[in-house]
Amino acid sequence: MKRHLISAADLTRDDAVLILDTAEEMARVADRPIKKLPTLRGLTVVNLFFEDSTRTRISFEAAAKRLSADVINFSAKGSSVSKGESLKDTALTLEAMGADAVVIRHHASGAPYRLATSGWIDSAVVNAGDGTHEHPTQALLDAFTIRRRLVGRDAGLGKDLDGRRVTIVGDVLHSRVARSNVQLLHTLGAEVTVVAPPTLVPIGVGSWPCEVSYNLDEVLPKSDAVMMLRVQRERMNAAFFPTEREYSRRYGLDGDRMAKMPGHAIVMHPGPMNRGMEITAQVADSDRCTAVEQVANGVSTRMAVLYLLLGGSEPAVATGNAPAPAASRPSPATTPERGAERRPFDAEESK
């Protein structure tokens, strides 16, 4: 794997499968009474959020804390940073604080790439969503969810999504979730179709590794997973679609439409849902909808990403004895924290 996770395109098929397998190991830890691993003890993960997203931030925070990292939440929204202070100055500040990983959410597409490549900072950079560009950990947790549901928790280990048909519905134009998912699901061998009104499909989509359809009803019977994207109501003010009602009628998922899906097919949503807009309550609350699971899977997946970026190549959760810790790298976990050796200088304050 590369040093940073900026785009889903950074991941090879094997990288992605390794992350999903590692996430399954992490999920097993979550089932234990003590949910913590000492793996990233002594390392600092900064959550640098230039845009509000409590859901994503707490997911990364929980992931880092379960790996025993120290977590600093740097919310730039509303502070001096949101207007005027440069990304560069913030980066230099974080560098001075000794951040080992920076998880960045930014309203500007490309900001994580700049952070990782401009030489301002040495840490690993994880893109937690940039503008309308990418959100690779969301795509990973979505792939994780699909593999678990459609292939199986144990049966899925080591496997990709070969031949699975995934349909992504909604505001593809403005969606970083869609961009990352199209890329990652394609890498994992899935057949991806995006469905949206033509106004919400980007120019140039023809070069994407997916099919494009304007007709949801035609695609549903051929879908193993249907991912509903959040559609902002304000889009109709810019004439992307005439009214909310028209959008729901043509592209929303209700019970009747869900009935057209194959029996095994699942409904996904990255949240937060606009009930009544892209998804009805009946669908959102049905057991085919994985929205809540996706949240839990998000923590396991982000644990896997942080572990693999910061922890290195050792297995995350081994069954034997702990290997000797490498000098410059944290040792992978072997047992939950209670049994782990504690070092005297572990920082505890932000746990």
Partner: protein, 428 residues
Amino acid sequence: MSKILIRGAKVLGGEAQDVLIDGETIAEVGTGLSAEGATVIEAEGKVLLPGLVDLHTHLREPGREDSETVLTGTRAAASGGFTAVFAMANTFPVADTAGVVEQVWRLGKESGYCDVQPIGAVTVGLEGKQLSELGAMHDSAARVTVFSDDGKCVDDAVIMRRALEYVKAFGGVVAQHAQEPRLTEGAQMNEGVVSGELGLGGWPAVAEESIIARDVLLAEHVGSRVHICHLSTAGSVEIVRWAKSRGIDVTAEVTPHHLLLTEELVRSYNAVYKVNPPLRTEADVLALREALADGTIDIVATDHAPHPHEDKDCEWAAAAMGMVGLETALSVVQQTMVETGLLDWAGVADRMSFAPARIGGLENHGRPVSAGEPANLTLVETSYRGVVDPAQFASRSRNTPYEGRELPGRVTHTFLRGRATVVDGTLA
């Protein structure tokens, strides 16, 4: 003033000749001219061009002296071989009154490196609503004949029509920054495959082309001439070609960067590549080169747009648009047009000196290299190859997209009315 003999230069790329400058004027052009009483410049193998003229320069003064001043901008111009630049009106305050254009004109006179011809704003404050006092700017000491709201498009069709008509009274021309504003809200780069992947707001070609189409039709309807700034798409070329074939009085410019660079560079998210209009596709670049060669596009203009480092060293969306260009323009034209065989040096003289001077109404620039003409001259070492080092720029700003890139050719001497402003590649 003393005499200068430029010996053995290929005038406009042709046969080697001697050119004798006496005072402010070219005294003689020929072979074996006497060097008596003259400083001799050995120019064997070099190309002698008329002093270059840039119809589109942002000098930033008044208002943004942190990025450029008239003095630093004209020093950059002289370094690049220019003897005259047209200063765009989007300063602070906007050059929309006789007072402001006279201030810029006077600063140009004081600089002494390059003649500065101010451009006046078409509308008050560049707001596109009310015509500026165009006549007063023309009647001022600055003698403004080119008017532009550059940076913004004169998008109201009625205002554009009136401006085109009004300036006919004194032989003026409106230079349009063609950008339909509604189609480019939030635009960050060319709209196409790359913008879709990068998640950056798209600036579609049609936003430029639709305005050009409208404006050439307006110019035809009211019998005016119109100039199109920084044409950037293959479609725009087709429209201008069509308009010229119909006899519409339209001229057009292309920037060096649109002749060389493509949108692929934006994948780096390095804001040094952020410019308006945006870098386009390879097909556009090739169409622009061809159009410049066949005369559909009349001139090269730099759109030299200095910005301080902090306005570029940031995330893409927050960065300013624009690139400096005066000091690299001729090299880029050599690489993209001369070394590709599309244009000879006489063609370069036309596109970068004769034609821009004619469009902008400058009488003493863009003149032939012959006896009796003003001694505005540029001597180019075309065999030179060098890597662009922004630290060497005379411009106050460093926002060049060519840093670290090898480009051919360099200006060794520039003469403004017989006075050397650049000697051996160094500002005099």
